[in-house]
């Protein structure tokens, strides 16, 4: 006697199982770029946020910034990331003569070189990003590192938000 399975009639049951399998595969896969939530135009920096049992980790790509130029504040249930990206071109940044690397500086123009931009994709100037935290964190223990333009902020979870194993006692 066949086992009773609630659901649709056999052909639809198979279809449902196939859709379930497909859905499980899709949701278990690491999020691809196209599935992720892209920040709105002009929002900088883009961030990736991950959660482990002990901490929330936020990663942001901030090429060109010094560690001292990044300001991180944890306020309530959000983390605020502020800073400023410096000007790309040394001549425009007012650093006359700072062009280095091959001995060619200002050319034959005498003083400050005339600058022509062929492409400007990187963006400069002040930025501020507010990142909502999914759980309460221990603000006093937040740690941040900026290495090769990659900022990694580790926010340990508040004690009450960490998973806790409950010991079962005998009577």
């Amino acid at each position: 006697m066949p086992t009773f399975r609630p659901g649709f009639a056999p052909p639809f049951d198979e279809l449902r199982e196939e859709l379930d399998r497909l859905w499980t595969t899709l949701t278990a896969a690491p999020p691809l770029h196209g599935w992720g939530v892209r920040p709105a135009e002009g929002v900088f920096p883009a961030v990736n946020v991950r959660e482990s049992d002990d901490a929330i980790t936020i990663e942001a790509e901030l090429p060109g910034l010094e560690a001292s130029g990044v300001d991180i504040t944890v306020a309530g249930d959000e983390l605020v990331l502020k800073g400023s990206r410096p000007e790309t071109c040394p001549a425009e940044a007012g650093a006359s003569g700072a062009i280095t690397g091959n001995g060619h500086g200002n050319g034959d123009t005498g003083g400050k070189p005339r600058v022509t931009w062929h492409r400007r994709e990187r963006g400069t100037g002040a930025f501020e990003r507010r990142i909502p935290l999914p759980v309460a964190v221990d603000a006093a223990r937040v740690d941040a590192r900026l290495v090769d333009g990659v900022l990694t902020i580790t926010c340990p979870k508040a004690a009450e938000c960490r998973p806790r194993k409950v010991e079962v006692r005998t009577a």
């Binding site: 770029h33 900088f44 990736n48 790509e61 090429p63 931009w117 002040a126 333009g149």
Partner: protein, 126 residues
């Protein structure tokens, strides 16, 4: 505010670091040289290749996998290598091209040949 754009057409994820992005680039022409400034965060200098061949400047960089474990809550960008090429044409001194990588930014100095550099001509009074 910063007007930052993600690399066009880029697709990558932590699980597939072999995918490749186009880095965002500023190109600044100073007359005597052209400056290429590319955002390549997470790379190391020894993993970056800059070549100039037949008038084409080619930049490639590999990015090591970073330790970023846990369940993904928000993913706004992917992680992978970088590659981008620029056709510059003639008039550049390939032997004097110099590049440096610091704080996730690659800066390439491409000097023009002396014969084609812009020059200001002084007008003398008769």
């Amino acid at each position: 505010m910063v007007t930052h754009t993600q690399s066009a057409g880029a697709t990558a994820s932590r699980a597939e670091p072999s995918l490749t992005y186009q880095p965002n680039v500023d190109i600044c022409d100073l007359g005597a040289e052209v400056l290429f400034v590319a955002d390549i965060p997470g790379a190391h200098a020894d993993g970056i290749s800059v070549t100039f061949d037949d008038g084409v400047l080619d930049v490639q960089a590999s990015v090591p996998v970073r330790d970023f474990s846990g369940r993904s809550v928000l993913q706004e960008y992917g992680i992978g290598g970088y590659r981008r090429s620029f056709r510059l044409g003639d008039g550049f001194d390939a032997s004097q091209i110099a590049a440096d990588y610091t704080k996730g930014v690659l800066t390439i100095h491409v000097p023009r040949l002396a014969a084609v550099r812009p020059r200001t001509v002084e007008v003398k009074a008769g």
